[in-house]
Point group: D2
Chain length 341, copies 4
């Protein structure tokens, strides 16, 4: 059986695991106050071009989203997201559980179009009944999006301008950020993100770590008492060193980028193979997720040999399915999958 | 420098780490639906004497407490805890963040005395204004407690009887459960806990794992949609296998008990050494945490050679401090500490 | 200036006010434990054909919605509503503030179509990722809806059947219920609602009272500790008698129905007048709210002489506006409005 | 039967009721945007000596407390209150329901002693584990307190100084404020409160109105989007005019003070009568609540002729009971009560 369900099917990249093994018996204080966390933070700040940023480590994506959003929003406000946004669909109501509405905008290939955001904000602020409505108090985007697409530098800049105009923060969910940065044709870099968002995170779980997300807050002190918020949200790991050690490994000798690039190249090979066999690719996803339109009969046949996610029905006869590669995907498995088609 | 601050200063027990290394490249589905989780669950059910229980894995203790409590309480209810209880003091308001009050009872050496609980429940139910008060809807205890003490089998039985009388669940926080089970003189076993609580958890973070807590719900189906609750509370690990693998290792060949026993024996040796030098031991803590009354000058001197936690001031001249041992503590470090006293 | 903005522009119906004046100096205990509340509850139970129901009084609609929904939903669940539903749009995120998502369905003239509800439930329950999604745990409808439309008895029955099939409660917001019951052509009566919902409320604020909503729970005991929930949500009026006195007056000699009928008749006259002058009526609203399509220039002109709410833009040149009548609207004001058109 | 249970046993003061009757048919817009609210706000600002303050009207005390506290606290913070504070004991967990812990300090005759507050803040800020604890983010006091006592001007000043030192707001619950201002010997005036708190409210429900509390925010704009917060918390009355009308009446020709003074004088007469008969008065409550120590047998006997609240047990043979007077209490009823003793 070939596995293309997700990018979290294995453990950690060998370099990351090696580092965990080597440090296993070194004693450190808990909760992220250790030297490994300090070292990893320095490396992340450097690669982001942010000497003065705050960096914090959390365990997983949903936890990170809920913690950041709850920290940034005042109690009268909600977070704006695409209707396909992870927080809107697949986080079990974690944002609402902390008291905040997710205000959705119809997505365009998984993205929030800047002008849709602008229209929503204009509409709210000109509404006579706005005091009876939830204040749109921040914007959540994911990069890559849930449909595998990427924002362009211009789109990101425009979103940030609109947020600045309305004095609300822009938050970028980078659970798969490595794969976005390594995609062909992207003009969005880590320093660019750092200059055009108020908070973002660099995903480790899906990019070589056992687990872990590095939250970057470009403007130091922008979120107060964030450690207390992380603890309150259940995200403060007792052995916080594990996060520091892993991110330190990931940001040593460009490992994060290299392993992301590996996944993107294999995904590109998959797309090439699918197209060569006449399949329709969906959404235009340039990173490590590929969405393919399959006839339902073909899909059922394929499921006997490979695992992948069913994304959405497409008419009565077809389904959009998702194939995901990762730092761990073997080139030969991609070839085998192509042969199956 | 000698380190006795806590039981989470190292990585994982070598057997646990070995298992993570060996399984690193095996592909599994995510979120705890893998075979390692299944295997670990079977072992835990077996050692608890609970063939039909539900078992779930979460990442950390605060997260587990908040998730279980939020799952068990109706919206009009709060959780009863000792005033020294971890949820009352050191979880950054995580319980309140999910909308519930922590109703405190003055502790007796860290424990809730059964008759104090009974008195609180009688008082609430006979209060003319009870509709204006928070309903005491469950009871939280920790074992060992935050003062290192243990419930006796009789106390646990009595607490459960009172809970049953008022039809409210009893929840046991077992973040350090191994050390309780391995303590000298305890008559509380895992199957006994399983028969006298509604939910409890077996701590991994402090007992040999990198992280992880195993929630056991003796009556299958007692909590509905618990996976959704875990996800909502940010506790559903993408690579859930990591929890299964670790707990599988911990519950293979009695490892969990053996490594706990190691810590308890070293702690006993510490106590013996302290007493021999004339120090006063506090609270009567029989497991892996030892509380010692130190003159402030002595404490300052000792801090130059060893790390430990300041627990509470005791008059103007003294302080209670805590020394913690773990599965990883070396016998020679204990001897060195004794020599320093 | 003529006022047709809403049905809460005056104080109370004279009979209600008279009753408040007469009882002003009678001393009663607080929080709804007085004889006036008892009397009003008996009358409401009688008119609903529910000898054994629970009835509770709250102050306002948003408060009532938030309290009922928070009381009915388990923590992993959200409430299903039309995308035009009051809780989804105009309650400042009160539902989310208590931790629950509002799951929206595209409305059909303000209503949830039974088959749309069924499709949403089928979709959730067949989704492989449903554990990561918010459980649709109850259904909220308003009658009349926010677009002034009414459910038919058959629609209500079908919604209830679907809810029963999925074992989730159906909650009916009756902030304007009197006007629905008094509408021409409706086949939905109060006893019918009582048999086809799990909770509903009879609005007083907009139908003759100074304020007040009567929550009816057909199955006694269906919601536990509801007084505590009302108190927690800030809805337990100290002088609870004020609610009992007003509802007792409203349900004496059919007053609630009679004054509702008055409003409906004047609204019908408005519609007749608008149509006679060639205006397009929107949504098909048979009760006390009338929605009219106006050219923007005409709207601006009219605003100099009358107040009304702007509902939504309709293309570039038109706007849908809302005119509302109430128990207090004078027939002559309706004629004056018609003349202005 | 004589009634001394509470100060909310009747309707409204005749002048207030008269104003409601006279304005009953005047049409106004909803939600507090009417001229009566504007007029009442002006009068309140004037009597507080605060030409630039924000004033808002809510319906009841629990609602007001929950809304103000939720508006002022960041998500990582809790509110400090006396352990006898209304929010800590008798509001059904409304503060916790909005996600915040109530951090209690042992009361001194119902009050927070300034030095106890200081000690709590020093302790928190010097705690090594403070990041794992709830940040004490504001202070709640009630005046009169739940034990009928009053802060002195010096105490209030000192509390405010401490809050300023720690940059946290001081909030005063004035549900019975009139009775405090009218008490003999107090040196605390409305302008003094205005200068020494960040938010306070002037209670109407217990002082002559049918219901209603006027929130005063001395520094305009100190709380943003407060109308949205009121709406979210279910406190935005559709017929908001009812609040404006009542407070306008209460602050016309000193009515609020005069009727409060009436209650205080009768309460003083009660105390005189109790003392003359040898009863022990408790707590030293100078306003409209009097706490008396009764033998249990005497209490039972008295309950056949008068209603009053049981406050707390006092040893095995005695009980502290509370007698409350109000603007509506008749002098002759006080004499009758004294005779019964």
């Amino acid at each position: 059986m070939l596995h293309f369900d997700s990018d979290y099917m294995e453990g950690a990249h060998p370099d990351v695991l090696e580092r965990l093994i080597k440090t296993n018996f070194i004693q450190t204080p808990g909760y992220g106050t250790d030297i490994y966390c300090d070292m990893a933070k320095e490396k992340i700040k450097s690669v982001c071009g942010l000497p003065d940023a705050d960096v914090f480590f959390l365990v997983g994506g949903t936890q990170t989203n809920a913690t950041v959003i709850d920290s940034l929003l005042p109690p009268y406000a909600g977070v704006v997201a695409a209707d396909t946004g992870h927080i809107a669909v697949h986080e079990s109501g974690a944002v609402e559980a902390s008291g905040h509405k997710v205000i959705t905008i119809p997505n365009k290939s998984g993205k929030i179009e800047p002008e849709s955001l602008k229209a929503l904000l204009v509409s709210y602020h000109s509404d006579e009944a706005k005091d009876h409505m939830v204040y749109p108090g921040m914007v959540y985007i994911s990069h890559p999006t849930e449909r595998g697409t990427l924002y362009t530098a211009n789109e990101l800049k425009r979103l940030k301008e609109i947020c600045t105009e309305y004095d609300i923060p822009l938050f970028l969910d980078g659970a798969r950020l490595g794969y976005a940065l390594a995609a062909d044709g992207t003009d969005v870099t880590l320093p660019y993100i750092a200059r055009h968002t108020d908070v973002f995170y660099i995903g480790g779980t899906k990019v070589g770590a056992l687990f872990g997300e590095a939250v970057v807050i470009p403007k130091k002190g922008r979120i107060k008492h964030f450690v207390t918020m992380i603890k309150q949200h259940g995200g403060l790991l007792a052995k916080g060193r594990l996060l520091g050690i892993q991110f330190d490994a990931l940001f040593t000798e460009d490992l994060y980028y290299k392993i992301s690039r590996h996944a993107v190249e294999i995904a590109a090979r998959l797309e090439e193979g699918f197209r060569a066999k006449g399949y329709t690719m969906m959404y235009g996803a340039p990173a490590n997720q590929k969405f393919v339109l399959l006839e339902n009969a073909k899909m059922a046949e394929l499921r006997e040999h490979a695992t992948f996610e069913i994304w959405e029905k497409y008419g009565k006869e077809h389904t959009v399915v998702r194939f995901v590669t990762s730092w761990a995907t073997k080139a030969e498995d991609a070839e085998k999958l192509i042969e199956l088609l």
